[in-house]
């Protein structure tokens, strides 16, 4: 759609105007222009153009008739084009994806409504074939709330289903980032009750609510968990995976990057997870923490 030339977009509007006016008789020019996303002036000129179109012969008997009556628009003599147009593939796709995401988010909704969504999805899918597919998306349900809380530094109240204890507990957390690992997405947080960085798997989160009037700062997280960290790293391999883990887009050729981190615990884990391709430069304390953690794991493998 977006890369169509102006005349083609005009044609598209003109063709859609006819059936639309047919079912919306006496619509105001203002409303009509709004509906088609153009100015009233442009709409008036397109309506004039439409009145020059019609069946071959192009006598007044064959031309489409457009009436403006004190700002209200009516159409007549438009039978040939009085057909709501087929949706294009892109239109089907954008509506279909919207429907699928909506259904994912509404897992607990009214079952009659869900059935209705499903049957619409089936009908829309028959128009696109297999070209587009959406699989279960645990992100969707809470994504907006969480992303907005991260961006605005608002604390969250999470209801979390602990898989081990098989119970639901409520935690208050400062959301820091979302991290994906294999097929799962984790919410990385500073957990108020544990006073430490904790991760929650998103598909086990039962409910998320923003805590009213909360506002945490990286500094407050840092004051509870240690120093503020600007970290010098050297990356020697696995560059894309590491860039994605650190949420950075570039790593210079020499592999040296500086990143800001909230949690030394997280940094230690990340260095180990990407072993041996990530190296911490300077910061003796964290370096020894990394060595210690690595030795703890190695201690499990007595040779």
């Amino acid at each position: 759609m977006s890369n169509q030339s102006a005349p083609i977009q005009e044609v598209s509007r003109l063709l859609d105007l006819v059936p639309f006016l047919s079912t919306h008789s006496h619509i105001s020019l203002k409303e009509l222009a709004g509906e088609f996303g153009i100015s009233e002036k442009a709409m008036a000129s397109e309506l004039t153009a439409l009145s020059m179109c019609g069946l071959p012969g192009y006598t007044p008997y064959e031309l489409i008739e457009i009436y403006f009556e004190s700002g209200f628009v009516t159409i007549n003599n438009h039978d040939a084009l009085d057909i709501p147009r087929a949706l294009t593939q892109l239109e089907v796709a954008s509506l279909l994806i919207g429907l699928e995401l909506m259904r994912d988010a509404a897992v607990d909704g009214d079952s009659a409504l869900l059935e209705k969504i499903d049957s619409l999805i089936v009908e829309m899918k028959s128009l696109t074939g297999d070209a587009i597919s959406i699989s279960d998306n645990p992100m969707t349900a809470f994504q907006a709330v969480i992303e907005s809380a991260i961006a605005r530094r608002r604390s969250l109240s999470l209801e979390y289903q602990s898989p081990i204890r098989n119970e639901i507990s409520t935690r208050e957390v400062d959301p820091l980032s979302l991290r994906s690992e294999k097929a799962h997405i984790y919410l990385v947080t500073f957990c108020h009750s544990a006073k430490a960085i904790r991760e929650f798997r998103l598909d086990r989160v039962v409910e998320v609510k923003e805590i009213e009037n909360s506002n945490f700062t990286p500094a407050s997280v840092d004051s509870q968990s240690g120093d503020k960290h600007s970290i010098q790293l050297k990356v020697t391999g696995d560059r894309r995976a590491i860039a994605e883990a650190l949420s950075i887009t570039e790593i210079p050729a020499n592999g040296e990057v500086e990143v800001e981190i909230y949690s030394p615990e997280w940094m230690t884990k990340a260095v180990l997870a990407h072993a041996p391709y990530m190296e911490l430069v300077e910061n003796a304390q964290l370096r020894s923490e990394i060595t210690r953690s690595a030795e703890n794991i190695l201690a499990l493998y007595p040779s």
């Binding site: 063709l15 919306h24 593939q89 954008s94 297999d130 699989s135 798997r201 860039a243």
Partner: protein, 313 residues
């Protein structure tokens, strides 16, 4: 308003209204807007057909009478022109309206809006009350999505720049087969024309827009191959046997089969495809996990950790 758009509308009306095929000569004689010599008109008509096709309007080529070798003619079948959705009611219109409002960015949002306009011209009022309980979060889609949908549906070859494993830019040329959204990521599954194999690309790793080659129907989708293709597309499954500390590493537990080992550890059997990926996950779990098998994975973990220590001592 250009003459061109009027001509296209007039052509559409003429081809829709006709009950029989119109020859080119008839079109040039009767449809307003064709001028110039025969060659110029021909060129104009060819472009017009392409333009209408880009709007999703199919012009059918046929002949008056199959028994005679008449000159072929053109028409638009009303059933191919008309909205495909049947049985629309106030609730389904409301659902589709909500679905169309989920897009934050221009490209998909625009096509959702133009689609909704067509639905509204059916003249059924939307019953928003019936869908009030549904929440929609506004979605953001990769900027390449609409071009990719277009390339897939018109079967055009595409090129784009992609971040490879070393974070370097690589130009890839592919036949796009399928788009898929899983766990917050968009994936393109495509036949890579240089690697001659099916590949999965993550859209957030695209670092350019998508260039379409401009020629429609330039490939056939290998459906059988496509359907046998896993999104993560790696290789065969391998088995791992782990000890996982009780109450720890829920992600690993969830992927495997758990059995009792002793009072401190559980035994977890799981399957994995990429040793690199599983290793990352196991290392993330730190000293809450011990790899029993396979030995290769166990050794890899030990070597990597020894290297880390060497780097950080």
């Amino acid at each position: 308003m250009s003459r061109k758009s009027e001509r296209l509308v007039n052509l559409t009306i003429a081809l829709l209204a006709t009950k029989r095929y119109l020859t080119k000569a008839e079109i040039f004689k009767n449809v307003s807007g064709y001028s110039g010599d025969a060659e110029a008109k021909d060129r104009m008509f060819e472009r017009d057909k392409d333009d209408l096709r880009s709007l999703g309007i199919t012009i059918e080529l046929g002949s008056f009478d199959p028994l005679f070798e008449d000159e072929a003619g053109y028409r638009i079948k009303p059933e191919s022109y008309a909205l495909q959705l049947k049985n629309l009611d106030a609730t389904s219109i409301a659902l589709l309206s909500k679905a169309g409002k989920m897009w934050r960015e221009a490209a998909l949002g625009q096509s959702a809006q133009s689609g909704l306009r067509k639905l509204r011209s059916v003249g059924i009022n939307s019953d928003l009350e019936s869908v009030i309980e549904l929440t929609t979060s506004s979605q953001s889609a990769p900027e390449q999505l609409s071009d990719l949908i277009e390339a897939i549906t018109s079967r055009q070859v595409i090129t784009f720049e992609y971040l490879n494993k070393d974070l370097a830019s690589e130009v890839r040329k592919v036949n796009p087969y399928r788009l898929s959204n899983s766990l917050g990521y968009w994936y393109l599954i495509a036949w890579d024309l240089e690697k001659l194999a099916l590949r999965t690309f993550r859209l957030d790793r695209f670092i350019s827009s998508v260039k379409l080659s401009g020629r429609n129907n330039s490939f056939e989708v290998d459906v059988e191959l496509l359907n046998s293709h896993d999104l993560e597309q790696i290789g065969e499954n391998s088995d791992a046997v782990l000890l996982v500390r009780k109450g720890k590493a829920p992600a690993l537990r969830n992927e495997g089969v758990i059995s009792e080992h002793d009072s401190e550890w559980d035994r977890v059997n799981l399957q994995y495809q990429s040793s690199k990926q599983i290793l990352r996950e196991l290392l993330w779990a730190g000293d809450n996990v011990i790899i029993l098998e396979p030995e290769e994975l166990r050794n890899k973990l030990i070597t990597s950790l020894k290297e880390v220590i060497a780097h950080h001592v």
